[in-house]
Amino acid sequence: MATLEREIRFESDRDPEFAAQIRRMPGCENLNRCIQCATCSGICPLSTYMDMTPRRVIQLARDGFKADVLNCNTIWLCASCYQCQVECPKEIGITDVMYALKCKAIEAGIKPKQAAPQTLYREFYNLGTKNGRISEGALMVNTVIKTQPARFWSLKMLGLRLLRTGRFGWKIERMPQQSVLKAAIQATPPINGKESS
Amino acid sequence: MPDTYQPRILAFFCNWCTYTAADLAGVSRMKYAPTTRVVRVMCSGRIDPQFILSAFAKGADGVLIGGCHPGDCHYLEGNVKCLRRFRILQRMLVDLGIEPERIRLEWISASEGGKLKEVINAMSADLVRLGPLNLPDALRSFDAEVLKEETEAEVQELVTIP
């Protein structure tokens, strides 16, 4: 028989430094201003798919319930449309908070339940930083195979069409001098909200 | 008009408390039975028992008196004076065949719009249960049994003293 459990949250469940760290990330400085009006949740085109509404993510982030927010699917469903950010009456960079939380989740090595977006972002990042440019064909194929192998074949028709219209190729795109980018990335200090940074 | 019997309650409300409470009930959009006809007086102490008897005689099914709570009277004790009259009047009316539910004295302060509504609804329900009093018809029919010989005009003519 299934049991319904609701845990009490103790102060020890909170990371008291978490909110401060997030607030030091670009665009996140107004996090504490939130009055929980939930405009963000209302305007978000994807909030119905989220296990926590953006409002609740903001609340938990602000309160330092780090584990809860880093494990939610909300941050990965965020399509970066910035609608919430634009409408927020307190000018909180909600999309930026989502970016910050995604970075923190990755930093913490959290593998989300809904893994596909993170996989895509990783593929993209790896390709982009390695070659300096994105080879869309490679990116698409890699991501689909890694995240939705079943769909691979159903996309066959689309793939053929794209090939026919010349919008899809196997060629790996590269910037002429990748080394300069690599050097720049390596020389870039991280932006992670930690006070030392 | 709806088919259901709607009793007629003549309500004497004091200006400072119950009339104001009735205003408040209105402002608060409380809905209550459309049974009352309010006569405003400055104080429940103004209410002459004749008014109440007259109300019954003119067709009221019930009479509701609303005054300030004891101690709250705008004129110190007008409500207590009303109560003194009311106690003996209600006793007398029972002897005259008028059920005690047909006459009510309630202390309803200016802030008690809700109580006003409750009282009117409760009293209306009581009166529906009791049925109409209908005294004007009764008073008319009282004289149905007596002899009628002359018309008024004839009498008038006869009694005219030269």
Binding site: F124, I185, T188 | -
Partner: protein, 309 residues
């Protein structure tokens, strides 16, 4: 005038038609585009989600390259434009960003002083040659074509330097200038779900469906857009969307530069119109914008029908 042209990754593959049509239009209007040497991926939303330091460095690096050439940077891809614009702003606003980026750029001997502007073709064409100039060059007015402009997210949010964030008009003005009719609809700036198209197609397609539905409610014949990701997302998955939502009909999704080019007299092939997944030629022929032998014969009744519609 010469501009630093930043194609971004998509304009080299899935958005080829955009590059083709944009450059064709620039040629007609006399705008000179010089592709930036050794440009790199802007980072899009992905870099930002993984590591923010490199994300900003990658973006700003392209700006620094353009600045070095002393040219404004033209980024036709909506995604690139948005990311570069945001990077520019945040570089200015956040010392943490500036600190990281400056150190990153220094490795290549670059620096950025915010001396250039980041331009999008939509705004560039509206201002630099200007609508008047464009109108004077129209050869093939888009008469009778009802166009729904789809702006997507990134021209508008989080900053919108050239248009109204909540009811953008720039693309509509361009389309009106070349004779098209405008289908006004509320979803013009809503998210198409493009960011999730590759990862959670179900959700992405639901959002796309709403846009197409809304545009068709406004009696749009075609959709135009200025973002290769939006175009791809709206165009490529219509089969799947219609399969689950039969209440929408296929609708061609053009790059606005394609229609602009047509109106200015370029030929469809130069503009990559054949590259659309939902074919766009037919509607243009039906409306009499493009000549077609068979259509020419039926021209009168079709035009009448279209007017009635």
């Amino acid at each position: 005038m010469k501009y630093a042209y930043y194609p971004g990754c998509s304009l080299k593959s899935s958005g080829r038609a955009y590059e083709e049509s944009f450059l064709a239009v620039c040629k007609i209007l006399g705008l000179e585009m010089e592709e930036l040497d050794n440009w790199n991926c802007c980072g899009a939303t992905s870099f930002m989600s993984i590591e923010q330091g490199p994300a900003y460095t990658c973006s700003v690096r392209n700006l620094a390259l353009a600045e070095k050439k002393n040219m404004d940077l033209v980024a036709p891809c909506g995604g690139c434009y948005g990311v570069l614009l945001k990077a520019d702003h945040y570089y200015a606003d956040y010392p943490a960003v500036r600190n990281s980026v400056d150190k990153g750029l220094a490795a290549e001997g670059l620096q950025y002083r915010r001396q250039i502007q980041i331009r999008h073709p939509m705004e560039l064409l509206t201002h630099d040659p200007g609508l008047k100039a464009i109108r004077s060059l129209v050869k093939r007015p888009l008469k009778g074509l009802r166009v729904a402009s789809y702006y997507g997210c990134r021209f508008l949010r989080p900053v919108a330097p050239f248009d109204d964030m909540r009811h953008p008009q720039t693309m509509d003005s361009l389309m009106k200038t070349v004779g098209a009719r405008i289908a006004d609809y509320a979803s013009r700036g809503r998210c198409c779900g493009g960011a999730l198209a590759g990862s959670i197609p179900k959700m992405a397609q639901e959002l796309t469906y709403r846009l197409i539905k809304d545009a068709q409610k406004a009696e749009a014949d075609v959709i135009v857009t200025g973002c290769p990701l939006c175009q791809f997302n709206l165009d490529a998955f219509q089969d799947e969307i219609i399969a689950s939502h039969p209440d929408v009909k296929p609708i061609p999704v053009f790059f606005f530069t394609q229609l602009l080019g047509l109106a200015l007299g370029a030929e469809p092939e130069e503009l990559g119109i054949q590259r659309l997944i939902v074919p766009g030629i037919k509607i243009l022929q039906e409306k009499g914008i493009l000549g077609d032998k068979k259509a020419d014969e039926k021209k009168v009744p079709v035009a009448a029908g279209a007017q009635n519609g």
